[in-house]
Amino acid sequence: MTFNSIAFALFLPIVFALYWFLPRRVFTQNLLLLIASYLFYAWWDYRFLALLFASSVLNYLLGLGLESEARPARRKLLLWSSLLVNIGTLVFFKYLGFFAASFAALLNLMGLRVSAPVLNIILPLGISYYTFQMLGYTIDVYRKQFHATRDLVSFLLFGGFFAKLVAGPIERASNLLPQLHQTRAFDTARAKDGLRQMLWGFFKKVVIADNLAGPVDQIYSHYGTTDGLTLLVGTFFFAMQIYCDFSGYSDMAIGTGRLFGLDLMRNFAYPYFSRDIAEFWRRWHISLSTWFRDYVFFPLGWLRRGKAIGVRNVLLTFTLSGLWHGADWTFISWGFLNGLYFIPQIMTGKQPRRSAVVAQGKLLPSLVELRQMLATFALVLLAWVFFRAASLSQAFHLLWRALTHPWLNVTHAGYLPLFAVCCALLLCEWFQRAKEHALEIAGLPLALRWAAYYVILALIFWYGVTGNVPFIYVKF
């Protein structure tokens, strides 16, 4: 069951009705959501439900162990057990084949004829997300930043809540578990805003991301015969596709959470309006980038131990972040390249901490801000080439081709409508950039709001891709 499926359109109202019309008790609400979440997961792929359950129970017990244990050595042992089990599971299901193939390739380079074993291991749905969530929990309990919960049902729901189970946001225990320990009261304004956010996310997914998928595939599959401008168009389209696909999913997840009185983490904050790469990473896939910041970058020593160590820490963190996306050198290179982008800031010591939105309170950005945004976007586009390419050699070939054949006599007129749609979306988001999502229009009169919803639904009906295209980040 995916957010863009008919099954979900039936599933959600049923769960909503049961949730709000059953007696208002923490246990009842959590149990219902847990059953619904496991049904949601099983509908998608029942084979790994036991793995999700086992992972949740194990981390629950480890959390209790860490909470009750006072001896540092024992606590450390429990933490290492958690790291070993969680990361071990992830490595087994996600990276074993990649590591085996890479190791075999390395041995072959050294002249030893070795062939990597073919491992047909199926990647369990959502494993990267819920494993990181569990890890974050046990580390927080170890650091005594969070008290372990004794409520098993709440904890199982923390790990398996269907809205964020398969593609995040990667929730923090400190955000979600306290909410699960309280009875949720129905808040009309919050539920309505949740519906709006879901609608906006759905629109971004089926109208923009899914329509861009075809041209992007076409351009990237013919990279050997195309020109630089076409590749630039293809990469711009991919940037919009992945943004609309993943932020669309996140919007639907967060909106769904709100229908049930739960506030999930914000995952995107108009990243393409960032003025530098650090700001971009504070606005893109926020739940993952803050996870790496808190559990990898900070423990490594952040930037406090000299510039060289700082550069190492940044590169390591971003490379691991790339690896999180998948067992492929393209993702690793993408992460590494993003890490490289930070070096000038680290070396010069100029690290602007921009938290406010660009041109706050103004209609247009200044020329300096515009230049900063375009420069940041160009860097992001360059990195997307590595992310999207089928292989590292294809990425380099593609860039080489773009440099050596910047312009062929190829018409790009067919791409203009899609380009215009992307620009229209960016424009909408520009005007709404101070809001949490672009359809946050609660202040408008009812008639205008309804008109806006009907227009969006009409666009979905008319231009939406109907084939239930999978979300990109679900496969990570």
């Binding site: 008919i6 059953l22 009309t188 639904l457």
Partner: protein, 430 residues
């Protein structure tokens, strides 16, 4: 949960329902309309109804895919024809009465094969006994089957279990879009509100689907051939050649898109799949007769002169046929109008030969058949006599009964039906 909270949740649910009500109403009306026109009937249900009604009937969906993979497979399984025409819509004008004395033994499987993958799948199913083996197969080979630009060989064939489109939500959305886009949204509402429905124009065949009811366009139950009432009416009104397809073929050739997307040459893997599939059928004892269906003269000339398609086109005409003949599979060279003393008026459009033209092609195939074979025993005198029939026009043996004569006035209603039919002329083209 307190009552006031339940009340607030109910109120929100109610507002959502009120908001969605016009959309749901529209969706329900659309569904009701397409159901009444039988456009959204599952193919299996249509065939049951056609079988129960006994006589001739038409299946012509307008908003949903025609899905020959289901209708033709099912009919072949039930009829177990001894003579089977196979290919795309371009072979669909072979009629059962041309095959005297084996009228009852013939079935037109045109439309079933859209790619070489479909052919390979058909051959596999025959070999495995999932489809009955005919005694004679007549295959019209389209050039785009062996184009680089068409579906890759690894793509699954639609014969391999592709389900009926009416069971997919996405098909219903696309059907609604199509209905609105083609501007024919008035038609289903008339059906809904009680006007006569269920019979095709002129022929009065019981009809299943909007194209069949409104324009008399669809596959005949009796022999699987395709009836193009609207195109025939157009011809009767003005008996000249016109490319009556929604996407002009000459334009496709000149601008290299749709069926004529660029291909450097005949794609070898696809060609091998085709030749091997035909050879496997022949090896299992089936008489296999291949031919290259005709194009209109202007399209043929454009292909001969096309800088991007010429090599592919020439290889299709010559090299591919040589490959077939090397496997001892007889293949008529590209059929040309002038070889039979005909002209383009015998073409329904740029790529579909009319019934009379197909009768000449059949005659050539019969003359090529080995003595003693089933195809060689087709009565050619009967076929020649058919062509001399009183009502025969270049495009059909049975023109629409009561159609206005040449130059006659056609009512606004007929024009609309005609326009609709022309707009959906690609129903039979895949």
């Amino acid at each position: 949960m307190s009552n006031s909270e339940r009340g607030r949740a109910s109120l929100l649910a109610l507002r959502v329902i009120i908001f969605c009500a016009p959309l749901l109403l529209g969706a329900c009306l659309f569904e009701f309309a397409v159901y009444r026109t039988r456009d959204s009937w599952p193919i299996k249900k249509v065939i049951e109804a056609q079988t129960a009604s006994g006589g001739e009937s038409l299946l012509g969906r307008a908003n949903f895919s025609q899905q020959y993979n289901i209708s033709k497979s099912l009919m072949i399984s039930r009829r177990r024809p001894r003579i089977l025409a196979l290919g795309s819509s371009r072979v669909m004008e072979f009629r059962s009465f041309m095959f005297h004395p084996y009228e009852a033994e013939f079935y037109n499987g045109g439309g079933l094969i859209q790619t070489v993958n479909d052919f390979a799948e058909f051959a596999r199913q025959v070999r495995e006994g999932r489809l009955p083996a005919p005694q004679v197969i007549i295959v019209g080979i389209d050039p785009w089957w062996v184009s680089e630009a068409t579906d890759p060989p690894e793509k699954k064939s639609w014969l391999d279990g592709e389900e009926d489109a009416v069971y997919k939500f996405s098909s219903h959305v696309e059907a609604a879009r199509y209905l609105i886009r083609t501007g024919k949204s008035s038609f289903p509402w008339k059906v809904v509100f009680g006007q006569k429905h269920g019979a095709s124009p002129y022929y009065n065949y019981p009809s299943f689907g909007i194209a069949a009811i409104s324009a008399g366009v669809g596959e005949r139950f009796s022999d699987g051939s395709f009836l193009y009432t609207a195109q025939l009416l157009d011809f009767i009104k003005q008996p000249v050649y016109r490319d009556r397809l929604a996407i002009p073929v000459l334009d496709q050739v000149k601008r290299n898109y749709f069926l004529f997307a660029p291909s450097r040459n005949v794609e070898r893997v696809r060609a091998r799949i085709l030749v091997q599939s035909l050879a496997s059928l022949k090896a299992s004892g089936i008489e296999v007769y291949a031919y290259e269906p005709p194009f209109s003269t202007e399209v043929r000339r454009a292909l001969d002169e096309s800088p991007t398609l010429r090599v592919w086109w020439t290889e299709y005409k010559d090299w591919l046929r040589e490959q077939l003949e090397a496997e001892d599979i007889s293949c008529l060279p590209l059929v040309r109008q002038e070889d039979y003393g005909l002209d383009d008026t015998y073409m329904l459009d740029a790529i579909h030969a009319g019934e009379v033209f197909d009768s000449y092609i059949l005659e050539s195939l019969v003359k090529q058949a080995a003595p003693g074979s089933l195809l060689a025993s087709i009565d050619l005198n009967y076929l020649a006599a058919l062509r001399k029939g009183e009502h025969v026009i270049p495009l059909a043996f049975e023109p629409p009964p009561g159609a206005p004569a040449s130059g006659g006035k056609i009512s606004a209603q007929e024009r609309r039906k005609e326009a609709y039919g022309l707009a959906t002329g690609s129903v039979g083209l895949h």
